[in-house]
């Protein structure tokens, strides 16, 4: 999948020399570059959609892989909404995915219809998110990570130890899937297309959220919460909302997960699973929504396929995460954005504009994301000196 494409490749093959009068070749390059700026996003999106639909039509390995990846992508994108925009990195996201999955499975095993089970699962996840959010959102930054880690382990502990409800290590199977007339999720193709549709709706909703005033206020909270609070924003309410949204979509992913897998076990909620979701987000790119979807595909591919060839794939994954944090804090999407910025700079230069200045058309997303000095990893604690300090 190459969503976003390589926007700079067109420019890379035709190096431009500054200070030269615009020849025909330069004008042509300029046209290509400007068109690519306009078209890369939509074209890549349509191409990705077509490729996904084509793969999911099949019945083989690739379609199973993409299906699993899409389920995780929903949870990962929602986590990114909270982590990348509001600076709240949660290590409980897989836990809430498990809550959704277990709620469906348990409700069905208590002889409820699949649709009722889905409704109950959504309500349970929402309730859990609302209740636990009261505790989690009281903390920020590193403390938030620690609290959510503990929360995630408690959810895992319930799934693992509360055997009367969860069947412990054996997990719970789901026998029947929701259906209305000819729309029947027990048909694998219908299920796969439904997963794709839910993924698409989630992605679009999250992108809409990030572009809304609410999303902007979250970014403000990430960079400087005090200032936003001083402006009269109820920052804790904003963070609470971001948390509830992220948890809700984790639950949605969980419901799809249990329908796709037919089984939910505590391993799905273990610490390493919570970590996997964070890895997906960081590898894909914090604060990009689309990046974590690619991260999910990569991690699921590793988990399911590379594990047969590369026995120590977790070592590889851990080292990759460390390398990304060290050398490319924006993750994969950060590279895409950097390529986009290089293209914009090239356009400016070819037009004969002042060198070194950002192109006027730099979009808001590019300017706010990887444009900052520290990148998306420079969360609220990048400036230790500006932390509130009330030591007597």
């Amino acid at each position: 999948m190459t969503a976003g494409g390589p926007p700079a490749s067109a420019g890379a093959t035709t190096p431009a020399r500054p200070g030269r009068p615009a020849g025909r070749l330069t004008r042509l390059t300029l046209v290509i570059l400007e068109q690519s700026r306009r078209l890369t996003g939509p074209v890549a999106g349509v191409a990705a959609a077509v490729v996904l639909v084509l793969i999911l039509q099949g019945n083989g390995f690739a379609s199973t892989l993409v299906e699993d990846a899409l389920v995780y992508a929903i949870a990962a994108m929602a986590l990114d909404f909270m982590a990348g925009y509001a600076g709240m990195v949660s290590l409980a996201q897989a836990g809430f995915l498990g809550v959704g999955a277990y709620a469906v499975a348990i409700a069905e095993n208590h002889f409820l219809s699949p649709w009722a089970a889905v409704g109950i699962a959504l309500a349970v996840v929402l309730g859990a998110g609302l209740a636990l959010g009261i505790v989690a959102v009281r903390t920020k930054g590193v403390s938030f990570v620690i609290i959510t880690l503990a929360l995630g382990q408690v959810l895992y502990g319930l799934a693992f130890q509360w055997t009367g409800l969860s069947e412990g290590d054996n997990g719970i199977t789901v026998a029947s899937l929701p259906a209305i007339g000819s729309f029947d999720l027990s048909n694998p193709l219908t299920l796969r297309m439904t997963v794709l549709a839910v993924f698409a709706v989630t992605a679009l909703l999250l992108v809409l959220f990030t572009r809304s005033p609410f999303g902007l206020s979250l970014r403000g909270i990430r960079s400087n919460e005090q200032r936003l609070a001083a402006l009269g924003y109820r920052t804790s309410l904003h963070r609470y909302l971001a948390w509830v949204i992220a948890v809700f979509f984790a639950g949605v992913a969980g419901i799809l997960y249990v329908f796709v897998q037919g089984l939910i076990t505590p391993t799905t909620m273990a610490f390493s699973a919570n970590g996997f979701l964070v890895v997906m987000v960081v590898l894909g790119g914090l604060g990009s929504i689309w990046g974590p979807a690619i991260g999910a595909l990569v991690i699921v591919l590793f988990q399911q396929e590379a594990s047969t060839y590369v026995t120590r794939w977790q070592t590889l994954m851990g080292l990759t995460l460390i390398a990304v944090v060290l050398f490319s804090p924006g993750g994969f999407w950060g590279l895409v954005r950097a390529a986009g910025r290089r293209r914009d700079a090239l356009i400016t230069r070819l037009r004969g504009g002042p060198a070194g200045e950002n192109g006027p058309a730099t979009t808001a997303g590019q300017a706010s994301g990887a444009g900052q000095a520290g990148g998306p990893l420079a969360l609220e604690t990048a400036h230790p000196g500006t932390e509130p300090r009330q030591t007597p």
């Binding site: 990195v89 026995t311 070592t315 080292l319 460390i322 944090v325 060290l326 990893l377 420079a378 030591t391």
Partner: protein
């Protein structure tokens, strides 16, 4: 009643192991603001290394020493490389240590396999004695762990309260910029504390391996305990780590013994209460 006393002793033993792990975690956070998520993995790796040394040399104390020194060396190496490279952002450090967990766990899995292992105690420590007054028959090994953790706690207390290094560390916890501005070599203090924390974790791994066993996932269990301790006791507070360890150790043990289905959830009750009442922890300072 006898069973309750035995459970309480078990809880105190667990508290001892948890203290050895969490004191290093909290001091590292206190002076460096580094959230080392790999601290639990260091604990488990130390336990595995100790296990192998003890298996091949049949010398428990040698295993204890080698594990502690090996993990101390690992800590020193990490502090001088990864942690130093990432000083610009707390979140970057945290994420890098998350990556480290996968690496350490995977390497441990490759070397020691997925089956649970137990570190065997030598001779006298492996036996049980009848305790005075109560008449409970209790394993000597657990009493040993309890004694060792008390000795370490006293030694650390002395180090922190009565020595120059300790004064620097305590001052660093309160205001590390100021300490640096006064011309103190904070860099060296960081390295010392990080190394000491890893050393204690490796040491605790061998002790914990005798009573809790060494198993895949044992690291995240211990990390959870250590995190609960620092939330309850207060991030960066040494006394908080003692208090928190006692509380968490007892709660986990009673929880496991009396509410098996909710052992982890019971653990969360003190955490929630403290967060709601005193978010900076029982003995934590504001702003830390």
């Amino acid at each position: 009643m006898q069973e309750f006393i035995a459970q309480t002793l078990n809880g105190l033993t667990l508290a001892g192991v948890i203290f050895l792990v969490s004191s290093g975690f909290t001091l590292v956070f206190g002076i460096m603001r580094v959230t080392n998520l790999a601290h639990g993995a260091v604990y488990l790796l130390g336990g595995y290394i100790g296990y192998s040394v003890i298996q091949s040399t049949n010398n428990f104390f040698l295993g204890l020493a080698v594990a502690a020194l090996a993990m101390g060396a690992l800590g020193l190496g990490l502090e001088r490389t990864l942690i130093t490279w990432l000083r610009r952002s707390e979140m970057a450090e945290l994420l890098a240590t998350l990556g480290l967990i996968y690496v350490i766990d995977d390497v441990a899995l490759a070397i020691w396999g997925g089956n649970p292992l137990t570190v065997n105690l030598p001779g006298f420590l492996g036996k049980s004695s009848t305790l005075p007054v109560s008449g409970i028959v209790y394993p000597n090994g657990r009493i040993f762990i309890l004694g060792v953790s008390v000795v370490v706690a006293v030694a650390l207390y002395y180090l922190l309260r009565r020595t120059r290094v300790g004064a620097i560390v305590r001052a660093g916890v309160d205001d590390r910029e100021m300490v640096g501005a006064l011309g103190v070599n904070v860099r060296l203090a960081n390295t010392l504390v990080f190394t000491l924390g890893a050393l204690l974790a490796g040491f605790a791994g061998v002790l914990g391996g005798t009573v809790l066993g060494l198993y895949t996932g044992g690291d995240s269990d211990m990390l959870l305990f250590a995190l609960a301790v620092v939330i309850v006791g207060g991030l960066g507070s040494f006394e908080g780590a003692i208090l928190g360890s006692l509380l968490i150790g007892l709660v986990v043990d009673y929880g496991t013994a009396y509410f098996a289905a909710f052992a982890y959830s019971v653990l969360f009750i003190p955490v929630i209460v403290v967060l709601l009442v005193k978010p900076q922890g029982l003995l934590g300072r504001q702003g830390v």
